[in-house]
């Protein structure tokens, strides 16, 4: 469908192919694409770690941890990602003027700087996307854990594994395989959600495209360039997912 629209646009001379190709591989655009890929990938890593912790809290059987976990998911899944990004970038620096991080009982100071210097658009975008996506990942991982057959756990306990070993050697490897397709889905969503960071001035793909077209008015060409690179990133994420599924098949 995209190619049909593109073909129609070229035929109707709405889109200038020469301009499209010039910008497709221009340095600015490539930097934007790289920034989007790096942000999306790191956000997925952050989200996976948070998701695993929050999911384990939820299934721990401890009512306090489970309630904390449910609250986390409710808040971060229940508010728009864009609001969260704006919150980290604009609201946090007005709430806390200065960041002071030190290792307790020592003189080691890790960070001591004005908040605006610490929370760059990249940091705010990574925090916003990672924390919000963490809530979705928590639910996906929880579903994966619940899908592991109870008999597997019973057998692992019966050979004398501790609860931690059961989790580490049996539940997580099996749940991991179950959640690969859903995880791939989330990776693609995140790569595209990096475009939200354009609202806080992070120089990702969409921000660069809109910056360029606001000065040369080649709106169609530059949006097409951006769309092209999102499609490339999606193809990359799909390839990663397929490779993982082949490497770790469900048996």
């Amino acid at each position: 469908m995209v190619s049909l629209i593109l073909a129609a646009a070229i035929r109707a001379k709405i889109m200038n192919l020469e301009v499209f190709f010039t910008y497709l591989t221009s340095e600015q655009v490539l930097i934007g694409a790289r920034n989007a890929l790096v942000l999306g990938t790191l956000a997925l890593a952050v989200a996976s770690v948070i998701g695993l912790i929050v999911a384990l809290m939820r299934v721990s059987g401890n009512p306090i941890l489970a309630a904390l976990s449910a609250t986390y998911v409710y808040f971060f899944r229940g508010t728009p990602m864009l609001i969260q990004l704006l919150f980290w970038f604009n609201a946090v620096p007005t709430m806390f003027q200065r960041v002071h991080l030190a290792i307790p009982f020592t003189d080691v100071v890790l960070v001591d700087a004005p908040t605006t210097a610490v929370i760059t658009p990249f940091v705010a975008a990574l925090a916003g996307l990672g924390l919000a996506e963490g809530a979705y990942m928590a639910e996906i991982i929880r579903a994966g854990i619940l899908a592991v057959d109870k008999g597997q756990r019973a057998a692992a306990r019966a050979i004398g594994m501790t609860e931690y070993q059961v989790l580490r050697h049996i539940v997580i490897p099996q749940a991991g395989r179950i959640i690969i397709p859903a995880g791939g889905n989330q990776y693609i969503m995140l790569l595209k959600s990096t475009s939200l960071a354009s609202a806080i001035g992070f120089l990702e793909l969409l921000r660069i495209a809109t910056d360029i077209y606001s000065s040369n008015f080649m709106v169609v060409e530059l949006l097409a360039v951006a769309a092209f690179w999102y499609l490339v990133m999606t193809a990359f994420a799909t390839a990663v997912q397929t490779t993982l599924e082949k490497t770790f098949p469900q048996r």
Binding site: Q152, A155, R157, A158, I159, G160, T162, Q165, Q174, F248
Partner: protein
């Protein structure tokens, strides 16, 4: 603790177990001597599986005490009070109790060899080479030396159950609990599993087997414990049970499975 508790392989002393208001086990007492093969018979819902799962503390009991080789299972006794052991202590106790499940429960993401090695490697922390030698030896023992690199899903049910037996044996358990080991298998596949269990019996393994398989009870069990509704109705030598069942329920049971 009486001397019989110290000498016995497994002792259940007035064990009860309920889920909410439903009593699964009612005041069950029994004792198994080392080397003995005991079958737990009884209709479905009699509490046979629950009893086995209590012996290695996969299920907690509501009252009574369970001992395996003189050690109180799942609890520490301080005065009159029982305190549940920590996760680490309970898993240490389970190492010497092998368990085989009706649904095999082989670890799906591991090969047959990895399944059999999982206990020695992760639980006993043996070196890999040593664990692999043992695993291959055990696979040969259960007649599956050529399936080491297969995944459980590629095996028949009977083969999976034999691997599960090898996995349990890898920890050199002092007691084997078998929970309906042939119930998920058709008669032909049951036969190969029964032969494997029989070989263990001949090697002197102490076994407690919940089963519907009369061949096990008749051909090589030393004793039959017959349960109905969570109670032990009869606890007699296997020969006696089949020749002259005393209770109404066991008479009906024997008559139905006479063929």
């Amino acid at each position: 603790m009486g001397t019989h508790v110290k000498a016995a392989a497994v002792v259940l002393d007035a064990v009860s177990k309920s889920y909410g208001k439903v009593e699964i086990l009612k005041n069950v007492s029994l004792s198994i001597t080392p080397g003995e093969v005991v079958t737990l018979l009884g209709p479905s819902g009699a509490g046979k599986s629950t009893l086995l799962r209590c012996v290695n503390h996969l299920e907690t009991i509501s009252a009574g005490r369970i001992y395996v080789h003189g050690k109180l299972i799942g609890y520490r006794e301080e005065g009159d009070a029982l305190h549940e052991l920590s996760d680490r202590e309970i898993s240490a106790q389970r190492r010497s109790i092998g368990m085989v499940f009706q649904s095999f429960n082989l670890f799906r993401h591991m090969t047959v060899l990895q399944n059999v090695m999982s206990g020695p490697i992760h639980v006993l922390r043996q070196p890999k080479g040593q664990a692999e030698d043992l695993a291959r030896e055990l696979l040969a023992k259960v007649g599956l030396p050529d399936k080491a690199d297969r995944y459980p899903s590629e095996l028949s049910g009977g083969q999976q159950q034999r691997v599960a037996i090898a996995r349990a044996l890898a920890l050199s358990p002092s007691v084997m609990l078998l929970d309906e080991p042939t119930s998920a298998l058709d008669p032909e596949l049951s036969q190969e599993v029964i032969l494997t269990i029989r070989a263990l019996a001949e090697q002197g393994y102490t076994m407690l087997i919940a089963t519907h398989e009369m061949a096990i009870a008749k051909e090589f069990a030393d004793r039959v414990i017959f349960m109905v509704h969570g109670e032990v109705v009869e606890d007699v030598p296997a020969r006696t049970f089949f020749a002259s069942p005393r209770h109404e329920r066991s008479r009906q049971f024997v008559a139905r499975h006479a063929g």
